[in-house]
């Protein structure tokens, strides 16, 4: 609790700045609008807005991006409920009961449940984050460079195995990201993989990698795959009906409290696991809620618990994902990778020392999350009509805007057209990779974690005088490295088992 009391004053002082409050409010408003755009997730939204961080201080940028991140998770439920198109994968489960409620004339009620669930999920997980983050942060202070290197490897093993359908392709993506991170000046006096190209001496800029791999494939998808997509407007529901049956009663709130509690815990726990993300959190919370329910058969027919469970969980993931991001420098998702990128680009080194050296900053982030959730509540209550209009933007028209923002954003990094070319090439590669299920998020995660891992292994080797046994055979690193190997092997075995089952089922179906 010392950490809390030592830093709360400074944090509240920082948060009393009108500028910071306006920036968070702007982040929430932009985030809800981006989230309400069909198919637009948190990673893509944060990547598109990354250039805005250039003109912000570290406090402003991290709180702005957290506001966008949290608001996108809420906003993505709007198209899921109104037009049966989830704003992101995390809201895919919300479609089941949210859209069913909208069809029964309960669109406004479903949107309100989604809003309250988002705010409760965000607030509860922030409380858990304060306890878990500070405890883990202090425990991690005992770690030296060898341990931090092993944790980095473990993070990559989890990230590689979680993203995409095939763990081997996920591991390939992490390798590509790690290798890309080594391009440019080495920090040891030489340069690596520059092939006499001056623009590569400083390496590939982080913002280029983030924009190219997270927003680029989405822009290509919207422009190429959805160039002629015409949405069925007859399925768009009115979210402004204010009749008796759309009201949220006290009895409904009491009924939803256990759902909100369970969902918050599941969401935060899933957020803490690197790579799992909001989609897994929402799905887990929904299936658990169904298991706990006395009437599981009603799930999918339009019941409030079916909206509350996934929405509370996918918003709880945001604070949960900050725990490994800030304490161990392991980003749990694409969105968290961008937050980590923001910190790194501002010269803040995430990891256990952050809690010791930048206590006020960490506490400002904690407290800022409460303010952000309050802003989400206000924005959600006032802007339902506006946001339901955003959900109707045709996908084919969205593409040119996303591509233009990507181009302008990448040009803004030093007014350099070479960055547009880099984003174009890497974005096109990312789009083609996604077509063959090579996930792109691990590339970004590994690219951000690469320099941190390299710094720790180099430091450990220097301290040990190059004796590898001293670095790797210490008790904690060896346990963590063995766990990483076990994760690698387990994910491969699970995939092989799933494939064998699928193959056997196919053969069974083929038999006359």
């Amino acid at each position: 609790m010392d950490f809390f009391f030592n830093n709360i004053g400074g944090a509240l002082d920082a948060l009393s700045s009108v500028n910071l409050l306006l920036i968070m409010f702007a982040g929430v408003s932009i985030g809800v609008v981006l989230g309400a755009l069909p198919g637009f997730g948190s990673s893509q939204s944060l990547a598109l807005l990354f250039p805005l961080s250039f003109v912000m201080t570290v406090d402003q940028s991290i709180l702005f991006f957290l506001a966008v991140y949290s608001a996108v998770e809420y906003g993505s439920s709007i198209p899921a409920i109104l037009i049966r198109t989830p704003g992101s994968g995390a809201s895919a489960v919300t479609v089941l009961d949210g859209y069913a409620m909208a069809r029964q004339g309960l669109a406004k009620k479903a949107l309100r449940i989604s809003l309250y669930s988002a705010v409760i999920g965000g607030t509860t997980s922030t409380l858990i984050f304060i306890v878990a983050g500070t405890s883990l942060g202090h425990a991690a202070l005992l770690f030296g460079p060898s341990e931090l290197f092993a944790i980095g490897v473990f993070g990559l093993a989890i990230v590689g195995s979680f993203f995409g359908k095939d763990p081997l392709r996920g591991f390939l993506a992490t390798g590509i990201g790690l290798s890309m991170a080594t391009i440019g000046s080495s920090g040891f006096g030489g340069v690596r993989f520059t092939f006499d190209q001056s623009f590569l001496i400083d390496g590939i800029p982080l913002v280029v990698v983030i924009i190219a791999f997270l927003a680029g494939p989405e822009a290509f998808r919207l422009l190429v795959d959805n160039r002629r997509t015409v949405e069925d407007k007859s399925k768009v529901f009115d979210a402004t009906t204010s009749d008796e049956k759309n009201k949220i009663s006290g009895s409904l709130v009491r009924k939803l409290i256990p759902t909100w509690l369970r969902g918050s815990i599941f969401g935060t726990a899933v957020g803490i696991i690197p790579g799992a993300g909001a989609s897994v959190g929402a799905l887990l919370a929904y299936s658990e809620e169904k298991r706990w329910s006395k009437h599981p058969e009603k799930f999918g027919t339009g019941i409030p618990e079916g909206v509350a469970a996934p929405e509370v969980a996918n918003n709880a993931v945001v604070a949960g994902t900050l725990v490994p991001t800030l304490t161990l420098a392991i980003p749990g998702s694409g969105g968290a990778a961008i937050l980590l990128g923001v910190l790194v680009s501002k010269g803040v080194v995430p990891g256990p020392n952050l809690f010791r050296d930048e206590g006020t900053f960490v506490m400002t982030v904690f407290m800022g999350l409460f303010v952000i959730n309050a802003f989400i509540l206000i924005t959600g209550l006032l802007g339902t009509r506006l946001f339901s209009l955003v959900a109707r933007v045709p996908l084919r028209v969205l593409g040119p805007f996303v591509m233009l923002l990507i181009i302008t954003g990448s040009y803004a990094i030093g007014n350099y057209t070479a960055h547009i070319m880099m984003v174009l090439v890497l974005g096109a590669i990312g789009y083609l990779f996604e077509k063959i299920d090579i996930p792109v998020v691990p590339i970004v995660l590994a690219f951000i974690m690469g320099p941190i891992i390299e710094k720790n292994i180099s430091r450990a080797l220097t301290i040990s005088g190059g004796v590898l046994e001293e670095v790797f055979l210490r008790p904690i690193p060896i346990v963590i490295l063995l766990l990483s190997l076990a994760t690698f092997i387990y994910s491969l075995l699970t995939m092989l088992r799933a494939r064998k089952f699928e193959s056997d089922t196919e053969q069974g179906n083929d038999r006359p």
């Binding site: 003109v55 040119p400 057209t417």
Partner: protein, 195 residues
């Protein structure tokens, strides 16, 4: 490589565009997923084998025990090579287990649209410093928006709608990037303020 009308096992012409893109097109390249994954991985393997060789040309460590330039790249590239080799071996020796669960058997890319978008971005990047942000952005948006509106509206209406959307878009981007963020965009006629 034949794309149109090919009778090849790997590249075949399809007559319809996926999703609800209703217009029939012969510009869609459809490839079987597994060979495409293997060819891509093979190319990655070759590229990374060259990078691994390159690590031996890097500066040697100055002091004993000092990791040096090549240490981490060799780890990262070596790891990627091993994973790529595993994917290739699995695809060749155990093709039954090579496809990811739930993976579709073919992938489709509207190659003409893909190349057009890439070419348009390339042209935008070249013209931006020469013609200026305003005209380049206006032209870029118009070229992309008009065909997308034509899907539902007439040509004249599509052009009017596109222009009506593009002008405020240029102004908003100018406001955000040039005025608010102070980024030095190459401007042709919009006022430039020096901070």
């Amino acid at each position: 490589m034949k794309l149109r009308g090919s009778d090849s096992r790997w590249f075949k012409k399809v007559s319809t565009v996926p999703e609800n893109n209703k217009a029939p097109s012969s510009f869609v390249l459809t490839l079987p997923t597994l060979p495409t994954v293997l060819i891509t991985t093979g190319m990655i393997f070759l590229g990374f084998a060259f990078l691994f060789y390159e690590t031996f040309n890097m500066m040697k460590p100055i002091l004993p025990g000092y990791p040096g330039d090549a240490f981490f790249p060799r780890l990262a590239v070596g790891y990627t090579l091993i994973v790529a080799a595993l994917i290739l071996l699995r695809g060749i020796l155990l093709p039954r287990f090579a496809a990811a669960p739930g993976e579709s058997s073919h992938v489709s890319v509207h190659w003409l649209e893909f190349l057009s978008v890439a070419a348009l971005v390339l042209v935008y990047a070249q013209l931006l410093p020469l013609v200026g942000f305003e005209l380049t952005t206006f032209g870029f948006m118009l070229i992309l928006l008009v065909p997308r509106f034509v899907v539902q509206h007439g040509l004249v209406q599509s052009v009017v709608k596109s222009v009506a959307i593009t002008i405020p878009t240029v102004l908003i981007l100018y406001g955000v990037f040039a005025l608010l963020l102070g980024i030095h965009l190459p401007l042709l006629f919009l006022p430039r303020y020096i901070y």
